[in-house]
């Protein structure tokens, strides 16, 4: 398989699955502003996913468009990291995941602005601006919850604890990226700046960086949590129920 296709699909799936999870929040958020904010972030991620998956389909050259990739692959063919597929939990869990992921994407897109693959570089230039907002949004909430009420603090710490086992996978060395020097970013190289940013936020929020006893692995190889198998039926059902239909 073409590593570029795999790389694009991996990044695209991250964005797609997280957009799907954030979409579940809409009409359930703690305040209307957050219905909007989470919807907005989801929309940005969906936009990234569409660009990445469309381009993956073009490079692959087998006639698959963004919808074929999003709706007609099975669980084992998805290449997202496990972090994005875990259930939303309460608002603190979602904000912990947002902090982790948006700070990761911030470093990722910043680095990919120099990708030798033009589409990635173009998308990165655009996405880094969007993700700056996402990261700021998550940062503000981690601060407000961590350094607000006792309940906020307790829940926010629990949120960090819940998502931290999924962090290491984001920065694990990746076969696919290794085959694409200049095009892709080496995930371990993003860890230091990510850590600097996130640890600062966690400290300012009077919270503790968790030290998890276990770590997710293998999302990029299609080894997911059991949660993805419940997300995909909901996402894909209608499309699959009408084979070949246009929408």
């Amino acid at each position: 398989a073409d590593p570029l296709v795999a790389y694009l699909v991996g990044l695209g799936d991250d964005a797609l699955i997280l957009a799907q999870r954030l979409g579940e929040w809409i009409t359930r958020a703690p305040q209307i502003e957050e219905d909007i904010a989470l919807g907005n972030i989801a929309l940005d991620l969906l936009g990234q996913a569409r660009v990445l998956l469309s381009h993956a389909g073009e490079v692959e050259g087998a006639g698959r468009d963004e919808d074929a990739l999003a709706y007609l692959r099975d669980e084992r063919e998805f290449r997202n990291v496990c972090l994005v597929e875990i259930p939303n939990g309460d608002f603190a869990v979602t904000m912990a995941r947002q902090l982790v992921f948006s700070a990761y994407q911030y470093e990722l897109w910043t680095a990919l602005r120099n990708s030798t693959e033009p589409l990635l570089a173009d998308l990165a230039a655009k996405a880094v601006k969007e993700v700056t907002y996402h990261r700021d949004h998550a940062t503000q909430w981690v601060l407000r919850l961590g350094d607000g009420t006792d309940e906020g603090h307790r829940r926010m710490q629990a949120g960090l604890d819940r998502v931290w086992p999924y962090v290491a996978e984001l920065f694990a060395a990746d076969d696919v990226a290794a085959q694409l020097p200049g095009v892709a970013v080496d995930p371990p190289s993003l860890l230091a700046p990510w850590t600097a940013y996130v640890e600062d936020v966690v400290a300012r929020a009077t919270l503790t960086v968790p030290t998890p006893t276990w770590h997710s692995r293998g999302g990029r190889r299609g080894l997911h949590t059991e949660h993805l198998g419940h997300l995909l039926p909901e996402m894909q059902h209608l499309h699959r129920a009408h084979p070949g239909a246009r929408w």
């Binding site: 797609l16 799907q20 979409g23 579940e24 809409i26 009409t27 359930r28 958020a29 703690p30 305040q31 209307i32 502003e33 957050e34 219905d35 909007i36 919807g39 907005n40 989801a42 929309l43 969906l46 936009g47 996913a49 569409r50 998956l53 963004e66 919808d67 999003a70 709706y71 309460d90 608002f91 603190a92 909430w141 601060l143 407000r144 919850l145 350094d147 607000g148 009420t149 309940e151 906020g152 603090h153 829940r155 909901e234 996402m235 059902h237 209608l238 499309h239 009408h242 070949g244 239909a245 246009r246 929408w247």
Partner: protein, 309 residues
């Protein structure tokens, strides 16, 4: 008194009333009630469409739907802000909604059972909403009128997208076309009810008209909606579910069948398919979010205090 005279003159001259202007208490209360109901409708109205975000059949449609629901939340916030210029605050209004003391549009108490409902809501429900709202752009109260101008523009965009969803379905597979027709069958009559009871049975109307809040009767707007919509149904290739519908040469309008006002009454009383569900979702979101809002408030107080010391 003088204030009242000045107010009456402004209304008569179609000069807009602004937040800092004096206004009669009844005018203020009427506006608060109407703007709040409108804002609540935007917020509750997110639910029937939000129900399909996770299941949209293409990524493009998912993006459009997400953006639309977000628009509705934005319109809701916008309208709550407009209401706040009249001296209430959003929390009070939300409490009144949650306690069932203020209403939202009954149309949102119908379930969205298939994807085609996203089309029917855009085409019929947004279409009826726009028909109701365009006259409000000239509302005597400035902030509300100006809000409506911007909201109507965005709603037109939504209506166009709804039409496009139905058009795609009605020109798609037989199953898709059947889905589109079914959605129109279910949403047609409830859309006509959105204009409210017949003028003969409508309360509030006369005073609202005198105050320059309401500009047209319910029946007149309903007729305009039917006249606008029926030819669009032809373009869509979909059937309006009304055996009595026909063009009346004499009046130059479409004549249509009798509306089941009992159904509207029942739904307004709370006995609609989704009233309980919509309210429960709203209350649950609010209650489960209380700790989040509390923590944000505590943080703000803490840091405001820190900044001033």
């Amino acid at each position: 008194e003088e204030q009242q005279l000045r107010f009456d003159r402004m209304i008569a001259d179609e000069v807009r009333i602004e937040p800092r202007d004096w206004m009669p208490e009844g005018y203020r209360r009427t506006l608060i009630r109407q703007i709040a109901q409108h804002a609540h409708s935007e917020i509750i109205g997110m639910q029937p469409e939000g129900n399909w975000i996770t299941r949209a059949p293409s990524l493009r449609r998912k993006a459009i739907l997400m953006a639309k629901v977000q628009d509705e939340a934005g319109h809701g916030l916008y309208l709550y802000s407009a209401a706040e210029t009249l001296g209430v605050d959003r929390e009070e209004l939300l409490d009144l909604l949650h306690q069932g003391k203020q209403k939202y549009s009954s149309i949102f108490n119908y379930p969205t059972l298939t994807w085609a409902d996203m089309g029917a809501i855009g085409w019929l429900v947004d279409g009826a909403a726009i028909m109701n709202q365009v006259p409000l752009c000239r509302c005597s109260y400035g902030p509300y009128g100006r809000a409506m101008v911007r909201i109507c523009k965005e709603e037109s965009f939504h209506q166009r997208q709804g039409f496009e969803i139905l058009h795609t379905l009605s020109h798609g597979t037989p199953a898709q076309k059947a889905m589109a027709q079914d959605a129109v069958d279910r949403f047609w009559w409830p859309s006509l009810m959105m204009f409210g009871p017949p003028d003969s049975a409508s309360t509030h109307s006369a005073q609202s008209t005198a105050w320059g809040i309401k500009r047209f009767g319910n029946d007149e707007l309903r007729q305009r909606f039917v006249d606008m919509t029926v030819p669009q149904a032809d373009v869509l290739g979909l059937r309006i579910p009304d055996p009595d519908l026909r063009w009346d040469e004499a009046t130059g309008h479409y004549a249509f069948g009798a509306i089941d006002w009992d159904e509207l009454d029942r739904i307004i009383r709370g006995d609609g398919p989704c009233n309980a569900q919509r309210m429960e979702r709203r209350r649950t979101a609010h209650e489960e979010g209380a700790w989040v809002r509390d923590s944000a408030d505590a943080y703000a107080r803490k840091h405001a205090a820190a900044a001033t010391t």
